[in-house]
């Protein structure tokens, strides 16, 4: 495997972690948004806040990690994507600001009206941000971002059938992951009503994601034939794995095996991301920019690879401790009464 292949693999690991962890935090915002009126939704909102509070900042750093690896290892690709995708990426950046700031502000404010205002900003931006990130991914996958500064169309590169499909899929996948994760959190908080609620939501969003994926076959077939061909050839094993794991997570939810369901849902989403990667390998910006051609100077690739490995030695135990600390002990506060 070439150095560039190692680097793109690392980037994809980072992206996977971002989707599995950061994506679920966005999904938490989605469930916050649809939790209903203040009194009825209070318990759900409490659980969402309790679950993502200690970890969302660390989860968010995965995105920075991917961005920085991209500009270090594939600078021309970074410049091409950011310049062509200027509009959706600016919206993503603003969405990230609104989400994080509003979440922190809501926690720190005590007046009901303000909490509701910040809560609305948190929840709305939790839906818009993954949509636009998905739309960017869809634009890249459907060959709409040529190499070079602002060489693609500034609007149709992200407002097209594949992008809209990918954006909606991203929102649904985030919601699905969050609902599955929250089942176990709700059980730990000893709130059976929340367990039932999130189990319904998890199964419901899995069904929606599945239906969406079926519809997506038609969209990709018409709008992104090369991607479609890749997904049905080199990417096919991973696509099948994704479907099986997705169905498996639903079965596990029915059996009340929430921790296993988490694992299965994570496998389903991971397989989807790596299926996309396999489908367009060895291209980085289809139709013609390959990973190796877009790679930075070998000296840079080497030093970034080595420092990432060394950094991971610090990072992995720290992350493990963070999650263990908050997954293996009771919640810090009591849920609001029903």
């Amino acid at each position: 495997m070439s150095l560039a292949n190692w680097l793109i693999s690392l980037m994809w690991v980072g992206l996977t972690c971002y989707v599995l962890l950061g994506g679920a935090d966005f999904g938490g915002g989605f469930w916050d948004l649809v939790a209903g009126r203040a009194a009825r939704g209070a318990r759900q909102r409490w659980l969402v806040e309790e679950s993502i509070g200690p970890v969302w900042e660390a989860n968010h750093v995965w995105l920075i990690f991917v961005i920085v690896l991209c500009w270090s290892a594939f600078p021309a690709v970074f410049a091409s994507v950011t310049s062509t995708m200027y509009i959706p990426l600016t919206l993503v950046a603003l969405g990230i600001i609104a989400r994080g700031a509003a979440f922190a502000f809501r926690k720190a404010s005590t007046e009901f009206g303000l909490q509701r205002l910040f809560g609305a900003a948190f929840a709305a931006s939790s839906v818009l941000t993954p949509f636009f990130l998905g739309a960017v991914a869809g634009g890249i996958a459907s060959e709409r971002v040529p190499i070079g500064i602002a060489k693609g169309d500034l609007v149709t590169s992200w407002w097209n059938p594949t992008s809209v499909f990918a954006g909606v899929l991203a929102v649904v996948v985030c919601a699905y992951l969050a609902a599955v994760y929250l089942c176990a959190d709700a059980r730990r908080a000893q709130a059976p009503d929340l367990v039932r609620g999130f189990r319904h939501r998890a199964i419901g969003s899995a069904v929606v994601a599945g239906a969406l994926a079926l519809g997506g076959i038609a969209v990709l077939h018409a709008d992104a034939p090369a991607l479609f061909a890749g997904l049905t050839s080199t990417g096919l094993p991973l696509v099948i794995l994704s479907i099986v794991a997705g169905l498996g997570s639903m079965a596990l939810l029915f059996m009340d095996r929430y921790v296993l369901a988490r694992g299965s849902a994570a496998v389903a989403v991971t397989a989807l991301l790596w299926g996309w990667a396999a489908a367009q390998y060895p291209l980085l910006l289809p139709p013609d920019t390959t990973i190796d051609a877009a790679a930075a100077n070998p000296a840079v690739l080497r030093v970034v690879l080595v420092s990432t490995i060394v950094g991971a030695l610090l990072l992995i135990p720290s992350l493990a401790w963070l999650f263990m600390l908050f997954q293996h002990s009771p919640a810090a506060s009591e849920p609001p009464r029903r």
Partner: protein, 457 residues
């Protein structure tokens, strides 16, 4: 949407779009830098207070640490997301920079990514695990936050130092052919710039936190809680402030030998001269510094330790390569004046504390302390204006012009407007929430519901 609007293609950036891109970057960076300063400085001060609690058992220290941690949680969240937008803007606004040089400055940013990870992970633990960890372990989880905060600042400023003093790469026909990532990271400007910025961050955090209690003193609150809340951060900052004078001098001397155009703009020197005077105040026009107080030979003395030393003037550079003088000159002077004023503020407190064994009680001192908390971030902003505008017209000094780095897409003015509105709202909300936190009457464990305390207050 009109059909033709669906097919916007990029051409060259208009002057208005370039100005919008620069304003947007300046706004986002200038906003983030203040939050980043608190992120660097505040953990150390908070962990110190918690450590004092462990040593003395005095609950007041614990109360202070709790409250500072709660504020830190909000500031860090806003700092983290306002920093993220910068990494987007690097590509969205300056693809010409990232396409060519993204790889050259990739190393410090990769390392910064890990520092940010460690900071975010341990901050999550520090803020949320007060009751889940034994006190001794809890205070230790604050240490990685402090170290990673300083490391983040170091790595990011390394990249900025590289823009001022680009080294570690070979160019062939505008393409980067050989890269020495460590050479780029440890460029000559790295030592003075990083030290200068990290100290500045501690000054902003220390004087900023002290200002909150200075304001309380003005409202007549002088109990032990408020005195301690003032003394800890103020002492931190007051002790470091004089160090910054020497580091600043080091940074200026560095400019004199390494970036003479910037120094010439700072001082408004047009013609190269021996024994150049120092200009205080004044307005620069047509190659002359008017209405300034001149101190003969002082610039040569300060810049090279030699009153007869030669100072290179702007005339040595083609007109298209000269930075604008007045804004650089004035922002530098503002920074220096504030720096010395903060030293004086520290001395005031120090002399009273030494002679009378207590804090100054005068209202003027409390007012000055509040002003110091506002002035310190202004000095940081002024310093950034000096170094960034002083590098113009270059984005990578001597290698890449800002005009060649900016994105050619249309509509950047609209982007600026949207981003400006978002930052306005963000500023209002941040100030409001921080004021609420400062006024919460009774201590609560950080990040925990404070309904009872609210009712009690």
């Amino acid at each position: 949407m009109a059909v033709n609007a669906l097919h916007i293609l990029a051409e060259a950036a208009t002057p208005a779009d370039l100005a919008a891109a620069r304003t947007q970057m300046g706004l986002s960076l200038g906003w983030h830098i203040i939050l980043a300063c608190f992120g660097v400085g505040m953990p150390a001060i908070t962990v110190f207070a918690e450590w004092r609690w462990l040593r003395t058992g005095d609950e007041l220290y614990r109360t202070l640490a709790h409250r500072w941690a709660k504020a830190m949680g909000v500031l860090f969240a806003v700092g983290a997301v306002s920093g993220t937008i910068l990494s987007f803007e690097m590509g969205v606004l300056w693809p010409g920079l990232m396409q060519t040089y993204g790889q050259v400055i990739g190393l410090p940013f990769t390392l910064e990514g890990f520092a940010f990870f460690i900071e975010a992970i341990f901050l999550g633990i520090y803020l949320y695990a007060w009751d889940r960890l034994p006190p001794r372990v809890h205070v230790l989880t604050g240490i990685p936050v402090c170290v990673a905060g300083v490391a983040s600042a170091f790595f990011v400023v390394c990249a900025n130092a590289w823009m001022n003093q680009p080294t570690g790469f070979d160019l062939e026909n505008g393409r980067v052919v050989g890269v020495d990532p460590w050479g780029a990271m440890f460029n000559p400007a790295t030592p003075p710039q990083t030290v200068h910025m990290i100290i500045a961050a501690f000054l902003v955090a220390g004087f900023g936190m002290a200002a909150v209690y200075g304001a309380a003193m003005l409202r007549g609150k002088r109990d032990r809680y408020h005195r301690l809340g003032f003394t800890i951060p103020f002492t931190f900052a007051a002790v470091i402030a004089p160090v910054q004078v020497f580091v600043g001098d080091w940074a200026a001397k560095f400019l004199a030998t390494n970036q003479p155009a910037k120094l010439a703009a700072i001082e408004g020197v047009y013609r190269t001269e021996q024994g150049a005077p120092l200009h205080l105040g004044g307005i620069y026009s047509n190659g002359e510094m008017r209405y300034a107080i001149e101190i003969p030979n002082a610039l040569s003395l300060l810049a090279h330790w030699n009153p007869r030393a030669t100072i290179i003037g702007l005339a040595e550079y083609p007109p298209g390569d000269r930075p604008p003088v007045n804004i650089v000159h004035w922002s530098f002077q503002i920074m220096v004046v504030i720096g010395f004023a903060l030293v004086a503020l520290g001395c005031w407190c120090g002399i009273v504390a030494w002679r009378r064994r207590r804090l100054p009680t005068s209202r003027w001192f409390a007012r000055a302390a509040v002003a110091g908390g506002i002035a310190a971030p202004i000095a940081v902003e002024a310093g950034w204006v000096t170094t960034e505008v002083g590098r113009q017209p270059w984005i990578v000094w001597g290698k890449l012009r800002v005009t060649d780095a900016v994105t050619p897409v249309p509509g950047l003015t609209v982007g600026l407007l949207v981003v400006g509105i978002v930052y306005l709202v963000l500023t209002i909300a941040s100030v409001y929430v921080m004021r609420r936190l400062a006024r919460t009457p009774l201590p609560v464990a950080p990040q925990e519901p404070s309904a009872e305390q609210e009712r009690a207050g």
